[in-house]
Symmetry: C2
Subunit: 121 residues, 2 copies
């Protein structure tokens, strides 16, 4: 485990790719990841893993089959395991993700956006 | 599991006690807690649990036996299991904690500050 102070905004300044989560910490089998999002992702779920979103900058829409939740800066939402969702960011959004280290961001869906092994940053 | 949008600052406005973590979410056996800190806590460790601090407002000093880490707004630090630490907040600080649901904030130390069963907020 790395044990260092992390300034979230400084870390976000280090990359520009969208939909490419970067790992900034891990604890208890969970990872803290940062992602820049813009546009529409892909419908997916995580069968065994709950996933938390915290918006650091901008705004994120979490589409579900029956509703859409809009998260602004300083707002969180936990997507329970097994629940299909699709993140959409009309403008660039900076998001902190909290999820098990086994989680792939597209779930079992293989998409051109899928990142198999996120990098530490 | 509750599944609702959480606005962190709104939740912080709901309580004023210091050193009294409130639960705002849980996922994968972990809990997300909010705490207002002011003054000095108590030296402790968590034998089996890593603990993440994210400062939402103000400034937090994490004292270790060999160093002190100062976290400002938007900064995180993960205290690895087994490492003694003592949080100190010279002025009021608002902190998000991420840790296993089994974690007691004073570790095995029983102190007048110990909260056995944090409330949801």
């Amino acid at each position: 485990m790395k044990s260092e102070k992390v300034n979230l905004k400084d870390k976000f300044e280090l990359f520009n790719e969208y939909w490419t989560p970067k790992i900034v910490g891990e604890l208890n089998g969970q990872q803290v990841k940062l992602a820049k999002l813009k546009g529409e992702f892909v419908w997916h779920d995580h069968k065994e893993e709950d996933e938390m979103f915290l918006v650091i900058k901008g705004s994120l829409q979490l589409e579900f089959r029956d509703k859409t939740i809009t998260l602004n800066e300083g707002e969180t939402y936990i997507v329970p395991r097994g629940v299909e969702h699709n993140p959409v960011a009309p403008e660039e959004a900076w998001v902190l993700l909290f999820e098990p280290e086994t989680t792939r961001h597209t779930g079992k869906v293989k998409d051109k956006l899928t990142i198999e092994n996120p990098d530490w940053i």
